[in-house]
């Protein structure tokens, strides 16, 4: 098992920059997810770590040693693809055995000569044993002789995992391995993968576009936006202390509510003609009148019966999920707001009616013009990690 470290990694396709100065350190045995929108570069990053794509500059260290110049097979990593990429013309057994066969000495690999060599029988037996052990742990022993075309999605997934596991790699790289499964199977496989991680103690690097999946499975989650690493943190910290507005918007379902606001004299925040009790601690340029963004999670907003909230909105739509309800409100011309509340309260609301909404000002996230997080009031700073602002 090994740690993976990326130092200032860049990847360019001609003029276009796909990966922009990625700095990432994954500890030995950690489960790290790479999340982002399509086109954010997460798959490219994974493939670059694997060696399937070349990087333009920067370093890749595996277990502290420079690996950036090594071919995929030399990096001793294993990859599970979204489409599983199983060899269609080989049986499950041969699929799993393939990496082992490739590791044999050259002579053993040639078709006819290998059957003449004396040691080849021992080699074959070894391989067979290894494959059977792995197959048993994945519960695919009974289907060893079948071809991928005859297997179900879940079975194919296990075979792909088996092929990765059999190599005893330094780390497992997974490129959206669960995307092709149906919802129930996906949830089931998530649990299995997490369990496998715990049992094996290996390093997992997991790419997904489903932030919920990443949040539930990982030790840490790395959010990629437009080829840059926006933030890497534990799921909890990522949720509660997002360092970038885009990260705040990406993580969390339903999406966080975002508002524009201005800074007034003395660091006081004015929003919607209301001055908030919160004040900005950090100085920013053009203090007076500077534009900032406020963000609040749906569960930190509530319908205010007294009518004395921060904002008024007209109810557009109520989603009753059974255990909770989401109220969609329209405030002003273009501003939308989602509030979480209990189903009984939601029941009492009427559509198209106006209600007052109150925020929990302690949970308000403040971002500057460029989307970077601004320090909050004293009692908030102690949680999470400290950030740097550019």
């Amino acid at each position: 098992m090994a740690s993976i470290e990326l130092i200032n990694l860049h990847k360019r396709y001609g003029e276009q920059s796909v990966l922009n100065g990625i700095n990432l350190k994954i500890q030995d045995g950690e489960f790290v997810s790479l999340v982002g929108e399509s086109g954010s570069g997460k798959s490219t990053l994974l493939r670059t770590i694997a060696g399937l794509e070349t990087h333009s500059s920067g370093e890749i260290l595996i277990d502290g040693e420079s690996a950036g110049h090594l071919l995929p097979r030399e990096r001793k990593l294993a990859m599970v693809f979204q489409s599983y990429a199983l060899y269609p013309h080989l049986s499950v057994f041969d699929n799993i055995a393939m990496p082992l066969r490739m590791q044999c000495k050259r002579l053993h690999r040639t078709p006819i000569i290998s059957s003449l060599l004396p040691s080849s029988r021992r080699v074959k037996a070894n391989i067979e044993e290894r494959v059977k052990i792995i197959a048993e742990s994945l519960h695919i022993l009974p289907i060893l002789h079948r071809r991928p075309g005859q297997l179900s999605g879940g079975q194919r997934q296990r075979v792909a995992l088996g092929r990765a596991m059999v190599r005893n790699p330094k780390a497992f790289l997974m490129d959206e391995p669960l995307s092709n499964l149906d919802a129930t199977l996906r949830v089931h496989m998530r649990r299995e993968l997490v369990q496998m991680h715990r049992e094996m103690g290996s390093t997992f690097v997991y790419v997904t576009h489903d932030q919920a999946e990443a949040m539930t499975m990982s030790d840490r989650v790395a959010v990629l936006i437009d080829g840059e690493l926006a933030q890497i943190d534990t799921p909890d910290t990522l949720y509660r202390v997002p360092s970038d507005l885009r990260v705040a918007k990406f993580i969390g379902t339903p999406k966080i509510n975002v508002f524009d606001a201005t800074v007034q004299k003395g660091g006081v925040i004015a929003f919607n003609k209301v001055k908030l009790d919160r004040e900005l601690v950090t100085r920013i340029d053009h203090t007076q009148g500077a534009k900032i963004s406020l963000a609040i999670r749906p569960e930190d907003a509530s319908i205010d019966a007294s009518g004395e909230g921060h904002l008024k909105g007209k109810v557009q739509h109520i989603e009753n999920l059974g255990s909770e309800a989401l109220v969609h409100l329209q405030c002003g011309q273009s501003q939308e707001l989602i509030v979480r509340c209990s189903p009984c309260l939601a029941h009492s609301l009427s559509s198209e009616a106006c209600y007052s909404v109150r925020f929990n000002e302690q949970q308000l996230h403040i971002f500057d013009n460029n989307g970077k997080r601004l320090a909050q009031q004293q009692n908030q700073v102690n949680e999470g990690r400290a950030y740097e602002f550019s």
């Binding site: 694997a50 071919l71 097979r73 990593l77 294993a78 693809f81 990429a85 269609p88 393939m98 990496p99």
Partner: protein
């Protein structure tokens, strides 16, 4: 086209079609039938003024024996087999890697090479016959197996066909193979080829038919009868006989046509599928 039990009226068009088709088919297939029948007949029945459909007296054995002994037909067939197989193997060795590179790898000159392939597709073999002849002449290998085989080692059609097919192989599969530790050679041999069998067979069929039936090139290049291909052999026989021993001549023609015909009848589906898919692309 869900039809219910057809009534007599509905039968009519179908019946007409079959009738028409059978008549046309008879005309189409007549040369084959006549060829075989004639090879069974003795000379007196061939050279008569009446139409004898079936042989009255079976001269099968005599005709075929003469066909096989008066010319070295067996040897010619052997030559044909050797040449066709050698060409096919060499074509595979050249075309498969090139098609793979064009389909899956990025390298400088890739586009230019593809344009070259398209350009060469338009060049019929006869247009370059003269330079080929000169090249072989000056190397001194005219009148040999090499002369028959070498010019055809490059099959631009093959490269094109295989490239189109290889593009359909998932990139992920090749990446997985790279992760498993295969180099590009191994990938071609162990991953790409086993998954391209239909395309390879289609191409093989095209190649074998084209070169077994080739007349123009062997005619130009061969003088020594020992190297004659089946096509040259049967024409040579015709020239030697010049209109007397039709029985044996038809027997010789039957022998030459038989291998491909049998192969075709056994594997018709493959043949026709191969051509259809190639055409649709």
């Amino acid at each position: 086209m869900g039809r219910l039990q057809p009534t007599l009226k509905r039968w009519y068009p179908e019946l007409l079609r079959h009738a028409f088709l059978i008549m046309l088919a008879a005309v189409m297939v007549m040369p084959f039938i006549w060829m075989v029948l004639t090879s069974f007949k003795p000379a007196n029945e061939i050279f008569s003024n009446e139409i004898n459909w079936l042989p009255g007296h079976w001269a099968l054995i005599e005709n075929y024996t003469r066909a096989l002994t008066n010319t070295s037909l067996i040897r010619y067939m052997g030559n044909g087999l050797l040449v066709v197989v050698a060409i096919l193997i060499l074509q595979f060795l050249v075309s498969i890697p090139a098609a793979y590179a064009l389909a899956k790898l990025s390298f400088p000159g890739r586009f230019a090479m593809f344009i070259c392939v398209l350009a060469c597709l338009m060049i019929p073999a006869q247009a370059v016959a003269i330079p080929w002849y000169l090249q072989l002449h000056y190397v001194g290998i005219l009148d040999s197996y090499w002369a028959l085989i070498l010019p055809f080692t490059l099959s631009v059609f093959g490269i094109f066909l295989l490239r189109q097919f290889f593009i359909g192989i998932p990139d992920d599969l090749i990446d997985a193979a790279r992760m498993d530790g295969m180099n590009e050679f191994r990938i071609i041999w162990s991953v790409v080829v086993p998954n391209s069998i239909p395309a390879l067979i289609s191409f093989g069929i095209f190649s074998v038919i084209a070169h077994w039936n080739d007349y123009f090139w062997p005619l130009i290049v061969l003088n020594d009868q020992d190297y004659y291909t089946p096509t040259l052999g049967v024409v040579d026989f015709r020239n030697a006989e010049s209109g007397s021993d039709y029985g044996a001549l038809m027997a010789a023609a039957t022998i030459v046509v038989l291998p491909l015909l049998v192969a075709f009848l056994l594997a018709q589906r493959r043949f026709i599928e191969g051509i259809s898919t190639a055409g649709m692309k």
